[in-house]
């Protein structure tokens, strides 16, 4: 086994904040403006994120740091590429027989005393959970992080009914207290600086507004959460994997908060998307080895918990949720996005994500994977998202289950063009690009001409309001020769 140094937990980072006395606090940039069903304007929100220099610089470095840790840890395993291939193969197999494996999971989970529920959509999921809470006269739900409950809008639904919901994951709790969505699937508050967290906690938990020490802030959250966890009759967790063969639900966390939510209250509810199914216990060896290494560059999460039935004296439910997944299964170009294990590696490596922040996407899922999942929910509202990418393919290269993410982003652009989405300005320049890209000879002529002209174009031509691409970018250095010209001259 190779000896490599790794950090642990949620990818510890070296201190990235500038030295010296605390500068004047920069206001935290907020996410995309949601205007009903109108297309979310990622570029507009990204522009505001880019203008907040302290925030964008920390965000960029912190996520790149996670990407580097991921590289270090994956390079320490000789069979890494083989594991990715296996993970992809297992998921593809399971998705092509999803009905059989779901029935097998249901049978095995029920045999161990787990009550299995099925929900067609978010509203049905929320109703099932409300009914369980009411059956136990519960007015409080403690929960761990679950992207599915974000999809379903569980928290606002329960709060409207007078049921308090407490997020127990630190990052997720920060976001809840600040009335913001998570900006990243693994590190939900990564777009916030410690000064932002100190402000949120001072306002909502009554902590010292002048103390932004992460250890102090974390301890305050622990103390405020614990009595609530001890009081709760019902706890909820997500699921990373559902094992058909054993009826097990596997949950991975670093804080141990999922286990607190599952083991202290007498009722444990699991919200799980139907695509989380894997066939065998031995498949976990592949996925657990890949998950935290891809996410944070640690060999495993601090807690990998396997629930096969209620705890002594307790009750356990699992809600199997479709919410658009069966429809996606039928999309020839996009069904493999269901292989996703929500590690966030594609987000950490994406230059657009790192410089725009997760909230700029204005959707449950941000970053490259979000660009291909979000439009399956609403093609009009998320019609601009597939353009928030450079198509550099880095997302595909790091994906532990080998989803061809950047190719699917490109496919979505084609779908949007066929649907006449997006409108106006972006489409005008795209038409020119489409005409160019469809004719290789014209493209090569344009590249040669562009390379000759680019160094001499005044900046205002590239950086004007009509050219959205120029925002936040600088003119690239032009090579003396195009690749095509070089290839023609050198291929002997």
């Amino acid at each position: 086994m190779k000896r490599v140094h790794v950090d642990h937990a949620e990818g510890r980072s070296k201190s990235l904040a500038p030295d010296g006395p605390a500068p004047e606090r920069e206001a935290q940039p907020r996410g995309a403006r949601i205007r009903g069903n109108r297309p979310v304007d990622h570029a507009e929100a990204a522009e505001r994120f880019l203008a907040a220099s302290d925030h964008v610089s920390f965000h960029d470095k912190r996520l790149w740091d996670l990407r580097e840790k991921r590289d270090r840890e994956s390079h320490g395993i000789a069979e890494w590429e083989e594991l990715r291939g296996l993970a992809s193969g297992i998921k593809e197999h399971a998705l092509t027989r999803l009905d059989d494996y779901l029935e097998l999971f249901e049978k095995n989970a029920a045999a161990n005393g787990i009550v299995v529920h099925w929900a067609r959509d978010g509203a049905e999921h929320n109703r099932i959970i409300t009914d369980i809470l009411r059956a136990h006269q519960a007015t409080l739900l403690v929960k761990s992080k679950s992207m599915l409950t974000e999809e379903c809008g569980l928290r606002p639904h329960l709060e409207e009914l007078g049921i308090a919901v407490i997020e127990t994951d630190l990052g997720e709790r920060i976001q809840q207290l600040d009335n913001e969505d998570p900006s990243h699937v693994v590190v939900p508050a990564v777009h916030k600086l410690r000064s932002d967290v100190a402000e949120v906690f001072a306002r909502t938990l009554g902590t010292d507004p002048d103390n932004d020490d992460p250890a102090y802030l974390t301890e305050q959250q622990r103390r405020s959460n614990r009595p609530l966890i001890l009081d709760a009759k019902v706890g909820l967790t997500g699921a990373n994997f559902l094992v058909a063969e054993t009826g097990a639900i596997v949950v991975c966390t670093n804080e141990g908060n999922a286990d607190l939510c599952a083991s202290v209250p007498s009722v444990h509810i699991v919200s799980a998307g139907i695509e989380k199914i894997i066939p065998r216990a031995e498949d976990l060896g592949v996925f657990v080895r890949l998950l935290s290494r891809s996410a944070l560059g640690s060999p495993i999460t601090q807690y990998t918990s396997h629930f096969r039935g209620p705890r002594a004296g307790g009750e356990m439910h699992v809600v199997l949720v479709d919410n658009g997944r069966t429809a996606r299964l039928g999309m020839a170009e996009f069904w493999t996005s269901l292989k996703c294990i929500r590690c966030g590696a594609c987000m950490n490596t994406c230059p657009v994500y790192r410089r725009s922040g997760g909230l700029s996407y204005g959707a449950t899922y941000a970053g490259p994977i979000g660009l291909i999942i979000d439009p399956t929910y609403n093609r009009h509202k998320y019609s601009l998202l597939p353009f928030a990418s450079t198509l550099n393919g880095s997302c595909t290269a790091v994906c532990p289950v080998k989803i061809n993410i950047h190719e699917q982003i490109l496919s979505w652009r084609r779908v949007m063009a066929e649907n006449h989405e997006p409108k106006l300005r972006k489409r005008l320049s795209m038409q020119g690009a489409a005409a160019l890209l469809s004719r290789p000879a014209a493209y090569r002529a344009a590249v040669d001409a562009g390379n000759a002209v680019l160094p001499h174009i005044p900046r205002f031509v590239l950086y004007n309001p009509v050219n959205a691409w120029g925002k936040g970018r600088d003119v690239p250095v032009v090579p003396g020769q195009s690749f095509h010209a070089w290839y023609k001259a050198n291929r002997k």
């Binding site: 937990a9 904040a17 291939g85």
Partner: protein, 195 residues
């Protein structure tokens, strides 16, 4: 139609064409000469756990007994190291004042520095998360090389709960600064001791 029938029917009509085989999974082990104790110890420490040296010759329990004696409220699933609070059948929330819990792991994983605890090893599942600290006894003969070997074990097919714990509760949700004791235990110490 019920939601169940609807979802299964939707899967059947939307299933991608062509079936692929479920791949066989190699065990990816390096061989018999791997020093599992050394690798386990290295990874445990890297993940924030602590390793306790056994006591002096003839007194292997000495360091552990000292730790128990110095702690306040202690509960234990290990007969050689009795606590002062009964664990079996306790209401989970009543364990909120436990300072130290003493448990024996059923096996461990060298690759990740993880120890495995079943419901029967924990007594009450919640003690693994509500206690401030854990002292874990582990038989060095029960260390497996990697996660593939771990998931071959029968424990994953039995009982209602098993967890792989790797060091203490941790978070780096605020600016990537690592903090131990985010929600669950603040410290996890392992004593290698044949069972």
């Amino acid at each position: 139609m019920s939601a169940r029938a609807d979802i299964l029917a939707a899967i059947r009509s939307n299933r991608p064409p062509g079936a692929t085989d479920l791949p066989d999974i190699p065990v990816f082990t390096a061989g018999a000469d791997t020093d599992l104790v050394a690798e386990f110890s290295r990874r445990l420490i890297q993940m924030g756990g602590k390793l306790m040296q056994s006591g002096p010759e003839g007194h292997p329990w000495q360091s552990a007994r000292n730790m128990v004696a110095e702690a306040g409220v202690v509960c234990s699933m290990v007969p050689e190291l009795p606590g002062n609070r009964t664990l079996v059948d306790a209401v989970p929330a009543s364990l909120q004042d436990i300072d130290l819990a003493v448990l024996r792991a059923c096996f461990a994983v060298a690759e990740t520095g993880s120890i495995a605890l079943r419901a029967t090893d924990l007594g009450v599942n919640a003690v693994g998360y509500l206690a401030q600290r854990l002292l874990i006894l582990l038989d060095p003969a029960d260390i497996v090389e990697n996660l593939h070997r771990a998931y071959e074990r029968p424990e994953f097919h039995e009982g209602h709960y098993i967890v792989l714990q790797t060091g203490p509760s941790a978070t780096a949700d605020i600016e990537g600064v690592l903090i131990h004791g985010a929600q669950g235990v603040r410290a996890l110490t392992v004593l290698l001791q044949a069972g």
